[in-house]
Symmetry: C3
Subunit: 275 residues, 3 copies
């Protein structure tokens, strides 16, 4: 049983400050979702200040979309400082597998920083685990819908990756998989329309960092709760669509839903199973 109400309550009460080093495509969306869920955002990517900024925060969210040489150096500095201070760290390896720079950066970050959480789509996580290079841009590769064909193998590979990195691994897609190396949570909340707006993955990562930062003593459950919350809010947003509404309104309604979500609503709406 995931204690959804307690976990969300802690986010709202503790109002964790989350430092995001993230891409400029969805930075505003990430800041807004952090505020919506009850956390506070700060974005900063200069080598001259990332350690100071991270020191003020409870969580660090590193997202490698639109990375550049300058920001990669900042990611390393911030991650090491966060580790030193025992802060929650999350890696979103956006586009890992799509370019050598992204794959190598993600691998280097994993080697030099201890992450509490790694969240990506299956192509990105595969790129990290297997050195695959097959990602098609930033969306999940259709050829990779692994849950249908070889679910058990995938589960084992993810558990092994979690044990190797010491991180909770969250693979999101049509169905979401969360593992800490022992437990495995399958979440079926969500709506396909979420993949028709940019930043649903980035926003989830930011929110997950906040949930973990507010619940550092049960990170696995916090990650499960964040992923469930985002999927469930996608369902709420979809239900609100009028005949003239499309992806623009969906994006607004998703933010609305996160900002209004209660622990009770989440507990009742959650669709997950533990394996």
């Amino acid at each position: 049983m995931i204690p959804f109400e307690e976990i969300l309550g802690n986010v709202r009460d503790r109002n964790p400050l989350v430092h995001s080093i993230t891409n400029y495509v969805t930075a505003g969306d990430c800041a807004n979702i952090l505020l919506a869920c009850g956390a506070s955002p700060i974005m900063s990517d200069d080598e001259g200040e990332v350690e100071n900024i991270t020191a003020l925060c409870g969580g660090l969210n590193i997202n490698i979309g639109t990375l550049n040489q300058r920001t990669v150096a900042s990611m390393l500095l911030a991650g090491k400082k966060a580790n030193e201070l025992g802060h929650i760290t999350l890696l979103d390896p956006v586009g890992a597998g799509a370019s050598r720079l992204r794959t190598e950066t993600a691998v280097r970050l994993l080697r030099e920083i201890r992450f509490h959480v790694i969240r990506g789509n299956i192509s990105e996580i595969k790129a990290l685990t297997q050195g695959t290079r097959s990602t098609r841009g930033v969306d999940a590769d259709d050829g990779d819908r692994f849950t249908a064909d070889h679910p058990d193998q995938t589960f084992e590979a993810l558990k092994a990756f979690a044990r190797k990195t010491g991180a909770v691994i969250a693979v999101t897609g049509a169905q979401d998989l969360i593992t800490d190396g022992e437990r495995l949570c399958l979440i079926s909340n969500g709506h396909p329309m979420m993949s028709r707006i940019t930043g649903s993955g980035c926003m989830l990562s930011a929110m997950t960092a906040a949930f973990a930062a507010a619940n550092p003593d049960r990170i696995f459950e916090a990650v499960c709760a964040a992923v469930t919350a985002m999927g469930f809010c996608g369902e709420i947003a979809h239900e609100r669509l009028s005949p003239a509404d499309g992806t623009g309104s969906f994006r607004v309604y998703l933010m609305d839903a996160v900002s209004r979500l209660t622990g009770e609503q989440l507990r009742k709406g959650a669709k997950y199973e533990m394996r």
Copy 2:
């Protein structure tokens, strides 16, 4: 006759991946409009990866708003790689004429890269064709509403520019003009409110790159269809406005309209003439 249904159908079916090197002001809007029209976005601007990223895509959208020395180098690398691979390339010379750096960068890109499409407002296109320096920021210079006074001269100048560059030229404003050097299409869809939100030009460029990438055998028609689609969606968005709605809702409704647009709707709503 522009085959609107076939062109839009191809965007939806072929789901082209478009690499955008673009400004951080409207990068999120560009990603969302690409998803809304049926394409997929990837943004990346580091010299270390732009060639890899472009190689994965079907189209490259170069937008020089908020350019800097680092990203200009990336634009050149990505453009050359896209040319080498025969990918669709589009230039949006945002603010050309507003600073020497922008004008010179646009001119340099035109010299070193072969573009299939160039889309801008009349001031920007003039800055490229005539070396003018009169642009007032990123919006069309009011003194330049050339269509009223000397339309024929303008048409000829644009056709000559299209022949010289080998690109389809799209000049957007109160009325839109598209030419491939031979044909000229005048489009009167659109609504003045589109100029009251940021990024309507940037979003159109991104969407145009997607339409061309999905229809590489008839780029001129694809550009006409994209420009018509954006203008028509602006009309739909305007019609939905309630008395309390303003530019915030208009922006949401525009995205809604693009995401819901059907080929039939577009064919019926298109207002254009061929010259």
Copy 3:
């Protein structure tokens, strides 16, 4: 008496072009609010063009969120050029006090550039006046709700800071304080929900630069009008919320309200007192 109708009328009639060197988190929001209030935006941060760009504009808005070494150099160049040309300059010291880099950059900008307006929350302004380092990220520090405990001391400190810098100081929070060193305006428009979306401060700064640029002969009144307008639009946005609406819709409605605001509405809705 603040001549709200005349001030807003001037923004709409004179349509000032505002150059913003600003963070990538809220750059799009700043561009949209400038368009909504009747001004025009241009964003540019490369050393190679900021002087050219600023020369075209009526106002310069410097916001140090997501600053980096490269953009700090551009801020200095642009600020000096704007001073040389007598353009309106505004500083938004986002996160001053949160890192040494931000505090030092803000202090350096204040030393090398003459600002007509400085707008921030109380923690940021304190960091500038007192060298405090206590800011908690980019939001106002709760421990700093100075209006309740020692309002008179705070008023005097702000007046002294205004006289020292020659700038109109605008401290925004639950209650807003504006001073030019002699006069003091207390504004109680606004709604707490404004702090649950990112960029309400950044947007206000951009809009304030526009109001001052369109009313250069009465900057103090223009700043008061901009701050009042933003707060009042926050109230309008809040009133529009339906039961399912949250922070996503609030953000859209805020933009709507700014784009539809009339001088008469603003005059009637303003809640301020002069001290």
